[in-house]
Symmetry: C2
Subunit: 217 residues, 2 copies
Amino acid sequence: MDLNYEKINLHDYITSDTKNSFEGHNFPAHSVIYKEGEHPSGIFFITDGLVGLTYQSKNGAESLLRIFTSQSFLGHRSLFSNEPYHATATTLHETRALFIPKEKAMEMLLSNKELMVAFIKLLSRDLKNSEIRFRDMIGKRVESRVIEALFYLKKRHPDYVWTRREIGEFCGAKTETVSRVLTKLEKEGHIIKEGRKVHFRDEEKFLNLFSDNNEES
Amino acid sequence: MDLNYEKINLHDYITSDTKNSFEGHNFPAHSVIYKEGEHPSGIFFITDGLVGLTYQSKNGAESLLRIFTSQSFLGHRSLFSNEPYHATATTLHETRALFIPKEKAMEMLLSNKELMVAFIKLLSRDLKNSEIRFRDMIGKRVESRVIEALFYLKKRHPDYVWTRREIGEFCGAKTETVSRVLTKLEKEGHIIKEGRKVHFRDEEKFLNLFSDNNEES
DNA sequence: CGGCTGCTTGAGCTCTATCAACCCCCGTGG
DNA sequence: CCACGGGGGTTGATAGAGCTCAAGCAGCCG
């Protein structure tokens, strides 16, 4: 999948001073931070927690577009492009976030060249990641997609127990399909299922094992 | 699909003066400007032509990730994120482009706040567009996707005759499927096929007709 | 006018969704 | 502490959307 999971250190730009000047919010698990269609009035900075950007299509299918871990910004894309949100931000577990009003956010951005560069970098990487997922929807089978999604999500947030549903929504597969792939992987000795948790037998070798998945040469 | 087809006027930043100081290239139709995996040594500014960003997966399936019309930049994403190209840029027809070397490009960027903002905006829109296409791959049937791809591509570049193949690669469908959808649309009286060209009977109403495609409520 | 590439249409197949039933895990309240 | 309820997970059987393969046609260029 080649998705980047390195963090871009945008949080350096939220200093301990500035932190105190912004409104703090606590969101319980599985609550909505903002909804698709709403107009952004600022951006969020997640101090602690985990947020998923999701979209529910009319026929019910859900997709998990991006995830936001602690120390990252949320809602910047829509603000920058000056559009209503194209998806909904939901907490995956309890989350604490600062709210930075639009004017203040733009002022911070425009007065800090390095911050702009950092956002350019972040958006560039997210764009690549999204395009890779799109092309993989076209060029790869579910099995590969599930494997890669599992790996990426666990890398990004190892503590969290990703549900089969979430893994599926991230890579375009149904819960049942994810479940079947995991059972197969366990039978083949690549992972260990412990209740809802999943452990790699050898994390480093895991992806290499499957790097040529679907590449019938 | 809700993809943006408005152009962001980045070309204002390439003045007629600066134009002359850069190396000009002519690419015939169906030639490669850069290849997946190569490291960017600068960015391109397309003065005239049409370029597609494509990816060929190991099993042969191709995808059309983004298109670049005249007066737009190309290759900026990889340069900004400091990564090798994740896809290949191919001309769809004859194209003329300026090459701006890495150092010069970064210098231009860093010395011009408005240019940075314009790039932030462009990347933000492209990210949204890509995520929308991803979620549509999950939540919509081919027929809807073909219809929306057709509309978007024609809006972006009305003069060009998009092949069934290209339409398919843009929305995740095979050529045969695109062909079948088009025949159906013609039978239903929504489009007119004139050789390889496709005309909408009523462009404005076209998308509305299908806006509730796949939305069995 | 010949050949090449793109387009069309048909028939069959396959991957993955769908539907359904059951189990397991965990949290909650009596 | 136990009952129970609900959501997540598993597994099987079935169906169908869209791909694959194949063959013929149409448009376009040398």
